[in-house]
């Protein structure tokens, strides 16, 4: 059964993936036709290997899931999401009807509107993770690009800060997390918090770990502006701000984007770890919960999450690439 379903499911995923990348990169269909075959062969061989090897691995939760089980569980996760949405819709309509009735009886009555109390589904977790990673990445960018420009413009500053960068850059998110957690719970005290504490903890951890590549690349890009262009700027007597805006920044855009893409990749990796440890909602928590759950389906569901994490990471990088093509002058 699985030998029949695997190839078809494999090609389904591949072609969908290619269509998506086509739309994203705007590449010619004819070219991708040529490039389609080899990746397809690679994925098929991988699926076959996985299918054969998985049953050999025995764990306390049964054998390691093969592609078929993972595919099945992916469908299951989707179904759960659909069901949960239906229940949520029902809940909302019921609540609205009840509130309408109460208001009809007594127009002055205060009606309560409660959120649907059901557990977040896999897709909800994906959305939460995406929001967290983008918030953390955005914060990292907002910090790293201006700082990188300052360091790149002033080599005294650069020399002073360089050792700090080199020391903080390799720190694992897991090491930051306890500190961030304590600091956030101590400083972010509010009766009506705008953000969940766990969200802030994950986001700040992501920021701390992902800002370094952008910072370093920006400062290198800024320091490496063609000396002739700097002389043009001096001959034109551009003011400091015009110089930064019209010469330094555009000149370093390609380097900044290289940094941003590395940063986003790191941000996504770090986020999963941070969510697992911080127990903040998201894909990391989903994986951890399934692991703790320990049912016979857990491994398949975790594997489905692993694939989803990889695929989303790939998509994020592609999106950055498209933005880079739009903005950077050397593309």
């Amino acid at each position: 059964m699985s030998t029949l379903t695997n190839p078809s499911s494999g090609t389904g995923v591949v072609s969908w993936l290619k269509v998506l990348t086509d739309r994203l990169t705007g590449a010619e269909l004819a070219q991708t036709g040529k490039q389609l075959l080899l990746p397809m062969v690679g994925i098929l061989i991988f699926l076959g290997f996985w299918h054969l090897a998985a049953p050999q691995v025995n764990t306390s939760l049964g054998t390691f899931p093969g592609p078929a089980q993972v595919w099945e569980q992916s469908g299951q996760l989707w179904q759960e999401h659909v069901n949960q949405r239906e229940r949520a819709d029902k809940f909302v309509t019921m609540q609205e009807e009840r509130n309408a009735r109460i208001l009809a009886d007594n127009p002055g009555a205060e009606v309560k509107i409660r959120g649907y109390p059901g557990a977040p589904t896999f897709l909800d977790q994906v959305v939460t993770s995406l929001i967290t990673v983008l918030a953390g990445f955005f914060l990292a960018t907002v910090i790293a690009v201006p700082l990188g420009i300052v360091f790149g413009l002033n080599h005294y500053f650069q020399a002073a800060v360089n050792p700090l960068i080199q020391i903080f850059k390799p720190v694992s998110p897991l090491a930051w997390l306890p500190l961030v957690t304590m600091v956030v719970s101590a400083t972010y005290v509010s009766d009506d918090p705008m953000f969940e504490k766990s969200f802030l903890t994950s986001m700040i951890t992501v920021t701390l770990c992902s800002l370094w590549p952008t910072l370093i690349n920006t400062s290198v890009g800024v320091a490496a502006v063609n000396p002739d262009l700097l002389n043009v700027s001096r001959v034109l007597r551009l003011s400091f701000w015009t110089h930064v805006r019209k010469v330094v920044l555009p000149s370093s855009v390609p380097m900044i984007f290289t940094g941003l893409r590395v940063s986003l990749g790191i941000a996504w990796m770090v986020l999963i770890a941070a969510e697992m440890l911080a127990q903040s909602p998201g894909l990391g928590k989903f994986v951890w919960d399934e692991f703790q759950n320990g049912s016979s389906q857990s491994l398949s569901r975790i594997m489905a999450a692993v694939l989803a994490i990889g695929f989303i990471g790939f998509l994020l990088d592609r999106i950055m690439q498209v933005i880079q093509k739009q903005i950077a002058w050397n593309e």
């Binding site: 002739d228 043009v232 001959v235 034109l236 551009l238 015009t242 000149s251």
Partner: protein, 288 residues
């Protein structure tokens, strides 16, 4: 033509190196009149670029000074526009935007928007580059990019146009074409031009005056040759003109007899390219 315009007095340039102070230029004295086309010629590493950078204000002389129209030069400015060897156009801006950046900066207070647009267009037409206004420097040839570099410099309405081996990176045909254009433009605008060159023919063809520099370290003005040839000049007609040939020989004699480099020719030629590039990048010139 006769008014004293630009004056260099006792210019000395010393660079700090790990091995101590290095004197690149020693006591350079020059008086240049308005509208004069002056070439600086000399072997690689003799400090030609240093002289140009001092006039541009990109370098500060350690002794002596430079006066333009009664004002001392101590910083760069658009009235001393520079044409760089490798065009130095912003690769992310189009041809039009590159000229616009300069015009915007220099004339934003004195010209209306429409006036500025016309002025940019006029300068692009002057160098025959109006057709490529919306192209990026990466999409046009080196010769075309150099034309735009010249247009950008001219658009600043400089009182002195400084050119650092402007045609050095171009092939011979493109170079001849650009030299002709430059002569035409110079005929119209009557700018003061200081041009660095390695090319004897280029120097004699274009200049009113050739300043020949001695070899460094401590380079100085060796000979000062006035080229009294009728303008407009035609390169083909001049090729056999006895006066032209005599000027040419004088420069060659200076370069290859009086200031002959001590090493043999072969390694020097190999060094020349590398030398020229370090010269541009560091401004430290005299090496031999």
């Amino acid at each position: 033509m006769t008014k004293l315009h630009l004056e260099l007095t006792g210019v000395e340039m010393a660079f700090d190196t790990p091995k101590g102070s290095f004197i690149a230029l020693d006591n350079i004295n020059l008086k240049i009149k308005k509208g004069e086309f002056v070439s600086l010629i000399g072997h690689s590493g003799c400090g030609k670029s240093t002289v140009l950078n001092i006039v541009a204000g990109l370098l500060q002389a350690t002794k002596g000074g430079c006066i333009l129209d009664g004002h001392e030069i101590n910083s760069p400015g658009p009235e001393r526009a520079v044409v760089f060897q490798n065009h130095a156009l912003m690769p992310w801006l189009t041809v039009y935007e590159n000229v616009e950046l300069a015009v915007q900066q220099v004339f934003r207070k004195t010209m209306e928007k429409q006036e500025r647009q016309d002025w940019i267009q006029h300068n692009l037409e002057l160098v025959n580059m109006a057709h490529a206004a919306n192209k990026r420097p990466g999409e046009i040839s080196g010769g075309m990019a150099q034309r735009v570099g010249i247009a950008r410099a001219l658009a600043m309405k400089p009182s002195v146009l400084l050119m650092d081996e402007p045609f050095g990176a171009l092939d011979a045909l493109t170079r001849a074409q650009l030299q002709d254009s430059l002569m035409d433009i110079q005929q119209d605008l009557n700018n003061t031009v200081i041009m660095i060159t390695h090319d004897v023919d280029e120097a004699v063809l274009l200049s009113d005056r050739i300043i020949m520099m001695t070899n460094g370290p401590a380079a100085a003005v060796g000979e000062d040759l006035y080229i009294d040839l009728q303008r407009p000049r035609n390169r083909v007609a001049l090729a056999n003109d006895p006066t032209y040939v005599r000027y040419r020989q004088e420069v060659l004699k200076f370069l290859y007899e009086k200031q002959r480099k001590l090493e043999s020719i072969a390694p020097r030629r190999a060094n020349k390219a590398a030398e020229a590039s370090t010269e541009r990048n560091t401004g430290i010139t005299a090496r031999f």
